[in-house]
Structures are given as structure tokens and as C-alpha cells.
Amino acid sequence: MSKKNKNIKKRVTFSDDTTITTHQTHKKKDLDYDRPPVYMRKTITTIPIHLLALLYYYIKISDNYDTLKLLFTLIPLQIAYLIFQFNKSTIYGNKRLKTNIPLLLITIGGSVALSVPAMIIIILFGAPFVEHIFQTWLLALHASFLAYPALYSVFNCDFKVGLWKKYFIAIIIGGWISCVVIPLDWDRDWQVWPIPVVVGIYLGAFVGYSITAYI
């Protein structure tokens, strides 16, 4: 706590803690040093409708829960979401940022790279280690592409802002909660690894992207 107060006094405005604790009171007209440098606008435009659409496609339309196809649909939609919705609501130093095309591409690579630590986390959380390793990697790829807009913003804000942590946490929580259905003995075809968790992280990401600006 003392550290945080000191930070405010010294006005080191890029600190994680200030963004987390004080951005709620922002008014976007005038930015002074007490205002957070980066925040999300509280608007419904950040709601990632496409995630729900993808889930609908995955559960109802796709053939036998095609997780791979879902991933290939997810990537372009996430890029579009970032350009047209997410980035437009990101306020950095009192202004909206223009889309940084090279960074978009770099972040795709970043997401793929992120899938490796994501996979380690998933295995630590109890995924099978030897069997189904490819499915686990697919799940990790989904998770890291769901985090794609947040990852882009991390890069875009020079790695200094802790605000984006919440998006990652939301995805993890979604995945964690969805595990509940795995032990049930209903013998449904959607209980196969990793389908419930894929659905879980999508819902987690949906909730995360929708409400993080408010908390």
C-alpha cells in the first residue's frame, strides 16, 4: 500500500497499481497527471459479439466440434475485433491509437509463441501430459489468440501497463470453471478433451472483454 501512495505522489504514471485502482473515475476530457495514462472506454462497443457467434458455430454448426477449424476462424475475427472495436476503445495518453499494422503481424507471432507458456499453464492445471498433447496445444493456441487484443495492447503500451493482466486472468478463470463438467458421467460427445474448456475460455474471454473496463 505504501508503495502505491508513494507512486502517486511521485506521479510515476505508468505504474500497474494506479491503472488498476484509479482509472474508474476517469473523465476523458482532460488528462492530468492523476488520470491513468491507459484505460478502456466504458462502452458497449468492446463487447466481442463474434466470440458468441463462434461458439454458436462451434457447438451447433460445426461438424463434431472441429476445434482446428474454429481456430482458423477465430484468428481473422480477433484481428478485425482488435482493429474495429478494441483498439478504438483503448485510450492511451488521452487519445485513441492508430492501428499499427506491423505490430498486428508481430502479435500474431507473439500469440503463437504465447501458446507455449499457455500450454505449460494448462498442463500444470491438470491437462494430460502425454496423451492428447496436440489437443492441448490447440487449446493453448485458442487461449492465446483469445488474448490477442490484450497481447497487442501490451506490446503497444510498451509492456508497462498492468491493466491487460485482467484479460488473461478472465480467460484462465473461464477455463478453470468449465472443468467442472469433465467428471460428469453423462457420456456426451462434448465432454471430450478439450471441448468444454474451449467453450469455457471463450465465455471467459467474452465476459472479460465486455466488463473489464468497469472493474
Binding site: 508503495k3 498442463i123 500444470l124 492445471f125 491438470g126 494430460p128 501430459f129 502425454v130 496423451e131 486472468i169 484462465i172 478453470w176 472443468c179 467442472v180 469433465i182 467428471p183 460428469l184 458421467d185 453423462w186
Partner: protein, 827 residues
């Protein structure tokens, strides 16, 4: 302060005991022996369908072992089934699918009492025998048949021995013995065959196949050889049999693919059953056998329903009728329709069916509402056999469903007492803990686990819930520490990796079995396994040894004894052990026994264990004396005791689980570092961590909420053949709860640093666990009451109830409160 713990604890105990006594009442059985009731003189005069019976029980003979294309090696049986000299069935064996209750079912024809499964463990318990109950061996004996028995000594415990002219029991002391245990049965056969005129009934019970299953699963590499060995036994017996001899080959239960049994899955309940006789070829074979050639492949092999499916109890009235003896009084079996044609004439057949029908009505305490009996008496010739059989099947179904009469008074009194205990516990907890985070945490875990009791699959897969809670709390803890600015990334990472390793150690739960679990990998890499085992013991002895040389020396000596004993045990059980270790152990054993033959390992085993127990108890005793007479500083006592107890736990664990203790030590180190700065709530957090890990590690050692996984192999360490049943009981409880005991004593060394307010700390540490037990108990009892007629009540909910009683009485009261309380008084 102490009152707020003791009052709810005692109330809870009373509630649990009263509830259990109401939920598992002793079953009412009809006493006395049955006699003929309908036209007794005619029945007594009529000829038997067969004159001799050869009854071969092959333990755990699953239906597919007899009939399946893929798994079966019984070529002789196949040829006889195809030629019509043998009739094959798949017999449904009622859960609990454990030998003792199944033998009760096979001999008396009654549905088993759930408690029998538990008493199967305490084999010496006299309340489980059926010497007072009517059974077909009893009826055969009464009607002058001369019987002989060779095989599993459970039969001899169940039945009065004087009904057998000649008998020899074998026991399943070493599960790893596949050969000798069966040779001990087979070696009697030549002699019996050459004196075939001296007996009428020959009963054989083979255990080897079950042992192979327990050791290596249903598709073990030893299986094919065992199948052909059994097949040859059958062939040998059959070839030397006369036409009027009936041979029955059956399994008492099946096994799941891992080789366990006890539960109610199709694999465990589908036992094979074959009737063989030359006479059978003269009659019309069962419909299911008409267009089929055995061995066969099923459309759905996981159903295990080969040929005709019947109830295993149906065997009892069938052989009673075939040999013309009264059907045992408590039997709920129905005469197998295929055999009606074997009864000399229609008149006798009708009488036998009616006899069976009347006996079923008696067991069910029903009136003859359909007037079948009356009509039969009016016109004995015009009996609609099919209709009567179908009516009997209906009665049988009701009887099986309502196998027990619950004692509702006790159930409700027990439940109310437990609810009161829970309310008192909640009030006390609020009074002591206030509405702090630990209180909320305890409540959420308890309610979550409580609600899960209503779902049978959550009970079967309870370990998943604990894993889920643990991963969630670690993530929460990490986020909390990150927000408060003290990132301990490395500690949390090591913690998480340790837990993940423990999770990957064994197969647990009742639904899936992975082949790549660490225990299996280590089994095939004995060098690594034993290196890890040695490290586990060594690291444990090294714990806090600074400035306390006596503790190090004593624990190190005990540790060496544990290691040599465990190695010797593995060698005897034919596990893979590195060569150089075998040589070391051989030297040690030779010094021990003074002999140099191959028997040296076996001879040294029990003395080694006895020496360990004696050393352990004397060292503990000396420590206690030293503390009582103030010769040693008191604060080291808890530390030393926890080390000695851990060594005892290692002693009682299987060798491939010992490395987990090494991980536990690392885990313990991390947790102590993490909770260091928790402040006032530290005691609660330690208590909650202890609770979660007790349950989690219990499952990851291979435990489940099913009777099938109770570990018996480790209950006999240091116990010779004429053993004391209470000793075995204690060892069994400790062996099965070994990892849980480790985590139950974990708070000893972490929270009692300040010995001035130890009473307060003790209460604070026990309250969350008590609260958890009360709430889960309330929910579980409610689930059992609500679902008392549910399909899974005997296979899922009742075992869970027994485990709950075990956790409450053994883990919380005895280990948690009594042992810890006594030690704290001494400190």
C-alpha cells in the same frame, strides 16, 4: 474455548453412529432349513436329474474370459459349448462384487448385505458367516450327499466345516502368487478322480486368475497361460466324468480392466457361468446358443452380455431342483427355464416351479395375488410355466431392489443430531473465526463438496473436485501475493509443479485409466524408483536435523530399516528391483536369519518388520520419557514425532508411492515459506491447506470412494499367518490413509511454535476441519436418504458413506484430535 470444539465433535460422532446403524441394519433372514412343501412324498421318491456335481469356481472369471474371441483361452469349453454338451450363460453378480458377499449369494441365493463387503476385509469376523443360514451345500449335506472342498478358505469361514468329508483351504495371503495358490487346489484332483465313488459333490475354488487381475489387469501377459491352465483342469475333470455328472464352471464376479472389483460396472458384475455334462447334448440347448459359435465377438464388447443373461442367484434353485433338494430358504433365485426339460416329467417340473414360487413369496412376505398356487392345486397339470416364471422374475426384481430394510427411526435421529452438530459448529466457528476470509473459504469448500454428494459421478471422481479447488486456490494465492506486491513466482511455480506431479502419479477415480502415469513408468524403471525411494527417506531424515543429533541418528536408523524392509517386500512380491540392491538385501537377510538358501528373503520378512515396529515404539517411548522428565527441550518433540510417524507411513506405503513423500517434503518447504507472512490467519490457512492436501493426496495414492481400491496388501506388514484382526485393522487404516496422515500432522510443526497458547491454536486449527466434516456429512446423509432407492445406492453412495465414517472417526477424531491432543498435553 475448548468447549466450542468438543461439543460439536461429540455431537457429530453420535449423529454419524446412529445414522449408520439405521442405514446399514443387520439383515433379517429367515432362519431354519427349508423342506419340501408341495407333494413332499412324490418329490422325495423321484430320481435326481444328475447324481454327481463338480463345482468349479474360478475367482473373477469375467464373461468374456469364457466366450470372447479376443480374450478367451478356454478352447475346450468352447468346443463343448459348440457341440451342445455345455450351456453357457452370463451371470449378473450383484454388487458388492467381492468374494465373500458373492459366495454368500452363490450358496444361499440371497442378495448380499452391504456390510458384508466391509466384513470381507475382516475375514475373521464371525457375524458374516452363514452357518445359521440355509444354503445349497447345507441342503446337500442334509440329504446325504458327500461333499469335498478344495480352494479359497473363504468357503470354510462361511460354511460349517463338518459338512465336508474332506477339505483343504488356500488363502490369498500374497496377491503376487499366481501359481502355487492354484497348484495347491489342482494337486488334489487326481486322487479325487480315482476315488470318485467316495464323493458326490466336489467343490473347487481357484484364486490365481483374480490375483493376476489385481496385479496386472484384465489383459495381463499372464492371463492366456492361466486360461489354458484352467481349461486343462476343466478338460481333465470332464473327461473323467460319467454321464450323470454335472459340472458347473463359474466366476464369482468379474473385474474391471485394471483388475479391481467391488463396484457395479458391467465388467465387474458380468461373471461367466457354464454347465457341462454329456447328458446336456440330449436336450434342446438355450436359444441364445442356437446360431452362435463360441468364441464370439459382441457388437458392444463393453456390455459383456454373452449368450443368455441370468442372475447369479438363479443357480441356487436350479441346482437344488436338479439334485432334488429343497430350495434354500432365503434364496431369491428363479429356476433357469432351460433346465426345466431335464426334470424327469412334467408333473415334477411343475411341482419344482411351484416350490420355487412359493419359496420366493415367503422371502418377499407377499400373498399369492395372482392365485397361481391355488390354481395349481386345483389342476396340477395345467400350469402355464412361462407365466409362472415371468411372475417369479417380477418378485425377484422387487426383492433385489429392496435388499435392505432401513431403520428409519435411527436414520432420522442420527440426521437430526448431525444437523444440530453442524449448527453448533457453524456458530462456534463464527464466534472464533468471525466472518474472515478463512471462514468464507472453509464454508465455500464445504458447501461445494457437500453439493457434489448429490451427484454419483462427482462422488466417483471426487479427486477432480479437490484438484479443481487446489488449482483455484493456488491461482488465487498467487494473484493475491502479486497484488500485494510480493511476487513469489518461483515458490508458486515449484508448488504447482509438485502438485501436478502428484496428480500424475496414479490412476484414481472410477472412470478413466491412463497408461502413462508416473507410478507405471517407475515400475518399469526400478533403478530410478529405488534411487527416489532412498532419497525420500534420506531427505526426510535430514529435515531440521541441525542441533539435534539424537533425532537424526534415530530417524536415520529407522529409515534404513524401512528401506531394507521395503526392498525385501518388493523382491518377494516379484516386483523389479535393481540387481545390486537384491544382493545387499540378501546379505542383510542372511545376517538376519543365519541361513543361506533361497528362502532367506521370506524368512527374514516378518522378523524385519517386527524389529522395525519394536524400534519405532521404543524410540517414541524414550522420547516421550525424556520430555516428561525434562531431559530434552519440549519443542523438538512434535518435530521428531512427525518424522517417526512419516517413516511409519513410508513403511506402510507401496514402493512406487514412496517417492511421493519426497515431493511432499518439497511441497511442505514451499508451503511453510508461503504461509510465513500470513499473520493472524496463518493457523486457519495451514488448517485449510492441510484439509485440502489430506483429501487430494489420499486420492492420488490410488484411493477412491469405492470399496474396490481398499489396499489390503499393505495391511499385513509384519503380520504372521495367525494374526490379530485388530492389528490388521489398524495397519489397514493407516496404510490407506498414509498420505492423509502426513498432511494431518503437517500443522504440528508449523503452527505450534509458540507453546503458550497451544490450546487456543489447537481449537483454531481443528475448527475448519470439523466444520467441513459436519457440512459435508449433512449433505451426504441427505443425499443417501433422498436417493435410498436409487440404482447407485449400494455401489456409489454407501461406499462413500463408509469412507466418510472412516475420515470422521479415524482421521479427524483419532489422528486429528486424540493423538495430537495427547502430544500437546505432554509438550
Amino acid at each position: 474455548m475448548l468447549k466450542s470444539l468438543v461439543v460439536p465433535l461429540l455431537l457429530q460422532l453420535v449423529g454419524v453412529f446412529v445414522f449408520l446403524s439405521g442405514f446399514f441394519p443387520q439383515k433379517n433372514v429367515l432362519s431354519g432349513d427349508a423342506g419340501f412343501t408341495i407333494d413332499a412324498s412324490l418329490q422325495e421318491k423321484s430320481k435326481h436329474a444328475f447324481n454327481k456335481l463338480v463345482f468349479v469356481v474360478i475367482d473373477a472369471l469375467r464373461s468374456d474370459f469364457l466366450y470372447s474371441e479376443e480374450n478367451s483361452g478356454f478352447t475346450f469349453v468352447h468346443s463343448k459349448i459348440n457341440s451342445g454338451e455345455a450351456w453357457g450363460y452370463t451371470a449378473y453378480s450383484n454388487p458388492p462384487t467381492v468374494t465373500l458377499p458373492r459366495l454368500k449369494g452363490i450358496t444361499t441365493g440371497s442378495t448380499p448385505n452391504f456390510l458384508d463387503a466391509i466384513l470381507n476385509v475382516a475375514e475373521d469376523d464371525s457375524s458374516s458367516n452363514i452357518k445359521e443360514q440355509d444354503s445349497w451345500p447345507n441342503q446337500f449335506h442334509k440329504n446325504g450327499f458327500k461333499m469335498r472342498f478344495f480352494g479359497d478358505d473363504t468357503w470354510l469361514k462361511l460354511l460349517p466345516n463338518e459338512i465336508f468329508d474332506e477339505y483343504e483351504g488356500t488363502n490369498s495371503f500374497f496377491v503376487s502368487d499366481f501359481e502355487q495358490v492354484d497348484l495347491n487346489v489342482t494337486r488334489h484332483i487326481p486322487n479325487q478322480l480315482s476315488h470318485a465313488n467316495e464323493w458326490d459333490v466336489l467343490i473347487l475354488h481357484y484364486l490365481g486368475l483374480d490375483h493376476i487381475g489385481h496385479k496386472g489387469g484384465a489383459s495381463s501377459t499372464f492371463m492366456p497361460a492361466k486360461h489354458s491352465e484352467m481349461d486343462q483342469v476343466i478338460e481333465n475333470l470332464y473327461k473323467n466324468m460319467k454321464d450323470d455328472t454335472l459340472m458347473i464352471v463359474m466366476g464369482d464376479h468379474g473385474m474391471n480392466d485394471v483388475g479391481n472389483h467391488g463396484g457395479s460396472s458391467a465388467s465387474e458384475t458380468s461373471a461367466g457361468l457354464v454347465f457341462l455334462s454329456k447328458k446336456l447334448s440330449k436336450y434342446q440347448k438355450p436359444n441364445a446358443q442356437n446360431d452362435v459359435r463360441v468364441p464370439m465377438t459382441l457388437d458392444d464388447p463393453s456390455s459383456f452380455q454373452y449368450l443368455t443373461s441370468i442372475q447369479q442367484m438363479d443357480l441356487v434353485p436350479t441346482i437344488s431342483s436338479l439334485f432334488n433338494v429343497p430350495v434354500p430358504k432365503n434364496s431369491v433365485g428363479v429356476l433357469i427355464p432351460d433346465f426345466i426339460q431335464l426334470l424327469n416329467n412334467d408333473k415334477l417340473a411343475n411341482i419344482k416351479i411351484m416350490e420355487n414360487y412359493r419359496q420366493l413369496l415367503d422371502v418377499a412376505k407377499l400373498e399369492d395375488l395372482d392365485n397361481i398356487l391355488n390354481e395349481f392345486e386345483r389342476s396340477p397339470k395345467k400350469l402355464d410355466q412361462e407365466y409362472a416364471i415371468s411372475k417369479m422374475k417380477d418378485i425377484q426384481e422387487t426383492l433385489i431392489r429392496n435388499a435392505t430394510d432401513y431403520n428409519y427411526d435411527n436414520i432420522f435421529i442420527g440426521y437430526c443430531v448431525l444437523v444440530v452438530a453442524t449448527l453448533v459448529a457453524i456458530i462456534c466457528a463464527i464466534y472464533v473465526m468471525h466472518f474472515s476470509y478463512p471462514f468464507i473459504g472453509t464454508m465455500s469448500i464445504s458447501i461445494l463438496l457437500g453439493l457434489s454428494c448429490f451427484g454419483s459421478s462427482f462422488i466417483e471422481e471426487e479427486h477432480q473436485l479437490w484438484w479443481w479447488i487446489i488449482t483455484g486456490s493456488i491461482a488465487l494465492g498467487y494473484i493475491h501475493s502479486a497484488i500485494s506486491g510480493k511476487t513469489k513466482f518461483k515458490l508458486y511455480f515449484v508448488l504447482f509443479v509438485c502438485l501436478r506431479l502428484i496428480r500424475g502419479w496414479n490412476n484414481t477415480g472410477q472412470q478413466t485409466a491412463y497408461s502413462y502415469v508416473i507410478a507405471n513408468l517407475l515400475k518399469s524403471n526400478p533403478t530410478i524408483l529405488w534411487a527416489l525411494n532412498i532419497w525420500a527417506v534420506f531427505i526426510l531424515c535430514m529435515r531440521d536435523f541441525k542441533g539435534n543429533p539424537t533425532s537424526f541418528i534415530s530417524s536415520f536408523t529407522l529409515g534404513m530399516m524401512v528401506l531394507t524392509y521395503k526392498m525385501n517386500w518388493s523382491i518377494i512380491n516379484k516386483e523389479q528391483v535393481p540387481e545390486y540392491l537384491i544382493e545387499i538385501v540378501r546379505k542383510y537377510c542372511e545376517i538376519y536369519t543365519g541361513t543361506h538358501d533361497d528362502q532367506v528373503f521370506d524368512d527374514a520378512l516378518i522378523p524385519m518388520a517386527t524389529l522395525f515396529f519394536q524400534s519405532l515404539s521404543s524410540i517414541c517411548f524414550i522420547k516421550l520419557l525424556a520430555v516428561v522428565f525434562r531431559m530434552q527441550k519440549t519443542d523438538t518433540l512434535l518435530n521428531d514425532m512427525s518424522k517417526y510417524i512419516t517413516l511409519l507411513l513410508i513403511f506402510l506405503s507401496s514402493s512406487n508411492n514412496i517417492p511421493q513423500f519426497l515431493i511432499f517434503e518439497v511441497l511442505r518447504f514451499c508451503i511453510i515459506k508461503i504461509v510465513q507472512e500470513a499473520g493472524d490467519s496463518k493457523v486457519y490457512i495451514v488448517s485449510l491447506i492441510s484439509l485440502c492436501l489430506q483429501n487430494f493426496t489420499f486420492f492420488q495414492f490410488g484411493g477412491t470412494n469405492s470399496i474396490a481400491t481398499i489396499d489390503l496388501a499393505n495391511a499385513y506388514h509384519g503380520i504372521s499367518e495367525n494374526y490379530n484382526i485388530y492389528m490388521v485393522g489398524w495397519l489397514m487404516a493407516m496404510a490407506n490413509f498414509a498420505p492423509s496422515i502426513y498432511w494431518a500432522i503437517f500443522p504440528w510443526t508449523t503452527i505450534y511454535k509458540d507453546t503458550r497458547n497451544k490450546k487456543e491454536l489447537f481449537v483454531k486449527c481443528k475448527l475448519p476441519i470439523l466444520l467441513f466434516n459436519c457440512i459435508v456429512g449433512c449433505c451426504l446423509f441427505a443425499a443417501c436418504i433422498a436417493l435410498r432407492y436409487h440404482l447407485f445406492i449400494w455401489s456409489v453412495f454407501s461406499p462413500k458413506l463408509c469412507y466418510y465414517a472412516g475420515w470422521t472417526v479415524f482421521m479427524n477424531v483419532i489422528v486429528g484430535c486424540i493423538v495430537e491432543g495427547i502430544l500437546l498435553i505432554l509438550v
